[in-house]
Symmetry: C2
Subunit: 355 residues, 2 copies
């Protein structure tokens, strides 16, 4: 292996001069520097990243603590942070397990958490006696945690408003909400939906909430796999959720209830795609018979026929911002406690104009 020592020996100087030459810091005679650089080049010298990391106490790596690589939303977030971090010469690693202990064995300078739940859990456990900078993605459910953890928030209240407004502008009054959780969940989407629709529905509000969860699925042959989905450990989502499958079920529930809704807002695009496919198999056409709007603005939108209208969440931007904020923290800059990430309606053809 070619080390600084070898280069120094060859150049007839000491390692510290070589060091200074490489980092161009401190004094070193111009001529000498050129010669040293030339020799380094010739010898094929590259600084040893591990040694540098040990000395500088900077690994130039941050961790995205997320297991769910099946979920395209998180993949996009990851892509965003990889790109942002790359620009600042950082790598983003990914451990692929939900084992907090592993964090402590990883060569990282900071952590990005994919959502509030995991952040909170982390803070309550390992985080208590392990201080590494953390940034969290967030979706309006971050009441609990301290400002020690800056977050990049997507305003789900606003998202739901955009979805409902898009439908109302097209004449829809009766709107259902398809969700993978029971009504009791405190998901910001549900909350926002309720406050937007309560004056329309009054007491019947709950009927328009299509929640796919255990109780609704008794007797369904898929119940087992869903039970798996719902298994959590320490309040943390461990399994990847099959939103598409849940969407299909939601469509069935919707049909069974014989609602007068002309449109449905889906939990996310996967869920919407599942609903659409199931509607189709039941002979319901989208958007002629029922309009659908998704949430995410994912690239999977295009698989749907008609193209899915959705509220874009731009997870890449959110991921990029998380990375940038984390790196700012590492550089000692002070950062905002909460920053927002933009959302915007992404038009498709799955919403019909009525009346």
């Amino acid at each position: 292996m070619v080390t600084r020592k070898k280069v120094a020996l060859r150049a007839g100087v000491s390692v510290s001069v070589v060091s200074r030459a490489m980092n161009n810091s401190g004094y070193v005679e111009a001529e000498k520097k050129k010669r040293i650089l030339a020799i380094a080049e010739e010898l094929g010298y590259y600084p040893h990243p591990v040694a540098e990391a040990l000395q500088k106490r900077r690994t130039k790596q941050i961790l995205f603590f997320c297991k769910d690589l099946k979920n395209s939303f998180y993949i996009d977030m990851y892509r965003g942070m990889v790109e942002a971090a790359g620009k600042r010469d950082y790598m983003v690693v990914f451990n692929g397990s939900m084992d907090f202990e592993k964090i402590r064995n990883a060569m990282i300078d900071g952590i990005i958490m994919p959502n509030e739940g995991i952040t909170q859990h982390y803070l309550d456990t390992v985080g208590r006696n392990y201080r590494l900078p953390v940034v969290s993605a967030s979706y309006g459910n971050a009441e609990g945690f301290s400002r020690a953890v800056p977050r990049v928030e997507i305003d789900m209240v606003r998202v739901m408003e955009l979805a409902v407004r898009a439908l109302r502008e097209n004449g829809h009054r009766r709107i259902a909400l398809g969700m993978p959780y029971p009504f009791s969940s405190m998901d910001a989407r549900r909350l926002s939906f309720c406050s937007l629709m309560k004056e329309v529905y009054g007491d019947r509000l709950k009927e328009y909430y299509i929640g796919v969860h255990r109780e609704d699925m008794a007797g369904d042959s898929r119940i087992l796999s869903f039970l798996e989905d719902e298994r959590r450990e320490d309040g943390m989502q461990l399994m990847e959720e099959d939103f598409f499958g849940k969407g299909e079920l939601a469509a069935r529930l919707f049909a069974e209830r014989r609602l007068d809704a002309t449109a449905v807002v889906a939990f996310n695009d996967e869920f919407a795609l599942g609903m659409c496919k199931a509607f189709h198999s039941m002979g319901l056409r989208v958007p002629e018979d029922i309009s659908i709007i998704g949430i995410d603005g994912s690239s999977a939108r295009k698989y749907m026929d008609p193209l899915l209208t959705s509220v874009g969440l731009f997870p890449e931007k959110q991921g990029a911002k998380c990375a940038d904020i984390l790196l700012d923290m590492l550089e000692g800059k002070k950062v905002k406690y909460v920053s927002g990430s933009p959302v915007q309606l992404v038009k498709g053809a799955s919403v019909r104009k009525i009346r």
Copy 2:
């Protein structure tokens, strides 16, 4: 920061005893060991991964040198390797750029390459004076490179045979091939298709090859984005390809040619989904009017209506095998020069039985 030194001080022993206690290697009195471990626990001591990496010259990280995180095939490969590596206490990092130089600044013990093209390019450039163990995924185009690089190969000849056989067993005789490359490309799929079909088609073979590429797209408004797609640098694919979009175009080309084919084998599932959507918009039904079979067995299959029949390539397995082989190399075991990764027909509903 809690170091071994502190633990040693507190326990009234020397660092090396602590070291031995932690790694349970070498001698250390049972009682003492227990006490040391207790103290470490109490102090919240964790070994410093960077220091260990420097000393042992093992970073416990391997690199997946792949930029294209938009492609679900590579994501699945990545998931497979993350899981396999995780079991052996390794992390898989991802740099997100195609900059070979960055490899040299990364804390890694080895590299997994996503395909032969990139491997070859790497060997021809940085690899020449930088020796890190490499394993490559491969698809039957690895003539060139030496056995210094073991590969995990998916037998695309076999894949095409499975696809064609599945169609023939359902009575299809006239089969087209939809590809995102010109006929001249040496893709193993094309080669295999040709050798399987030449006796059926004779001179007309080329007509049944639907190659979406520049020449075919003159006048198409999408030409610009495709030109982008086709831009390569140093023989290496830099842009993410829009297989779905190419599939849509392929369906149009197919219709224009008025072929008598009853079925089409698509380059991959994305391509197949694109074809299906376009067929649908032209009033052609799948599989009533035309059967489609994809390649990949990706989870995106489910978005299609009807569910896409495909040849499963199980990229997760391929990725896992790449990781295992690479780690075997790092452990000094000797490994096979080429190993295979299984493929298998994955049934759907996009192939109709005819006659």
